[in-house]
Symmetry: C2
Subunit: 206 residues, 2 copies
DNA sequence: CTCCATACTAAGCGGTTGCTTAGAGCTAAG
DNA sequence: CTTAGCTCTAAGCAACCGCTTAGTATGGAG
């Protein structure tokens, strides 16, 4: 058996299931693990290659540069979380916001390895790639804002500052990726439920 | 005149006013700016030296290594924010929590350059230095938890999960350092006030 | 004046970095 | 069988990294 250094969790991260060929996917997953663990700049192409069980030069068969690896991770990661936020269902604004926060915060816990790279390594992208990702981030913000605005229109939320509240809710969910630890006593679903509760308390009328 | 690359804001950051001699302080401030802008690993000792207006070797007159620069920043930064949280006053638990959140969130906005290094570069510390900083972080968490617990005892807060709520409040404040931009339309004080409002809404009884 | 400590610089060392080159092994079409 | 194309590796290159060494300038004590 070949030792690749990729643990079962990472291989099961459905975020990357559409990436082909297999060697390119293996390399991406290795990069996600390395970037999440030590940060983009502290990770060498040799780290990535050896995690993927290949030689350093093999990286460049599938990707033009180390930055392109990061860009692929960032792009797919943002698209995944935007798709997740866009597919929220629920009866009424309260249930929709509850589901949105539970899903978004839960994703940042369950896929915290991917989420860390997605949320905290943006600064290492080239200006062109950064702008592409920034557009996706604007769409994510707009989605979350519309879930809150719906409740205000329905009269079930009391929110003095819509933009500020949206910022706070997104910030709360995103920061889960920073502090979450797999061994902790809360499961990702429990974190999602707790955060949904806290957010609904924040926007409920007196 | 010598060009040091240190802008007025950084030189006025009162966080570093006690660091002497002056050249060591100038070097620390340069390191804060560089680490905050590009991250610890992407910053070279030559970057720091040229920001401080000195030669690369001058770094090692005042600090043993690049990591010791980071440790000094992290230590002083954590001590400063712990001191800030410890000096909160106010009549009753509601006003004390309001002041605590406004102060803590406001600090992460006003001194976001320092705060970014303090909050997001922990992973680059040596294990020994990391443990020293972790102890300060536990004290910060305990402080914030006690402000919330006081309100529960007084009967003015409704908090089903004290540990979870503390985590969320700290997370909200800390993440300000990630998204805050000096040119934005909200001042640090306004952010502090808005966040204090949101947190009080989160913990108020029905 | 001499002497010594302090704060700094010019130059550079060994090691590591992202990435390239040259070529090997394999598959499959003609 | 030949050959083209794809995936991969061994080896290595130029640049850059953190840090050190050797030496200079300055200033205060005796």
């Amino acid at each position: 058996m070949t030792t690749t250094g990729l643990d079962g969790f990472a291989l099961l991260d459905k975020t990357w299931s559409t990436v082909t060929p297999e060697a390119a996917r293996r390399m991406l997953i290795a990069a996600v693990q390395a970037f999440a663990g030590k940060g983009y700049h502290a990770t060498t192409t040799r780290d990535i290659a050896s995690l993927a069980g290949m030689s350093p030069a093999a990286v460049y068969i599938h990707y033009r540069s180390k930055e392109e690896l990061l860009f692929n991770i960032s792009l797919v990661g943002h698209e995944t979380s935007l798709a997740l936020l866009s597919s929220i269902e629920g009866d009424g604004a309260v249930e929709r916001l509850r589901n949105a926060v539970a899903t978004f915060a839960g994703w940042h816990a369950e896929f915290h390895t991917t989420a860390r790279v997605v949320q905290y390594e943006l600064g290492a992208l080239s200006p062109e790639h950064h702008e592409q990702v920034a557009e996706l981030r604007r769409q994510i913000e707009q989605r979350m804002r519309s879930y809150i605005a719906d409740g205000v229109e329905e009269g079930v939320f009391d929110v003095p500052d819509l933009k500020g509240a949206t910022l706070a809710v997104l910030s709360l969910c995103i920061d889960v990726a920073r502090w979450y630890q797999p061994g902790g006593k809360r499961t990702p679903d429990e974190i999602g439920a707790m955060y949904a509760d806290l957010v609904l308390r924040m926007v409920r009328p007196n």
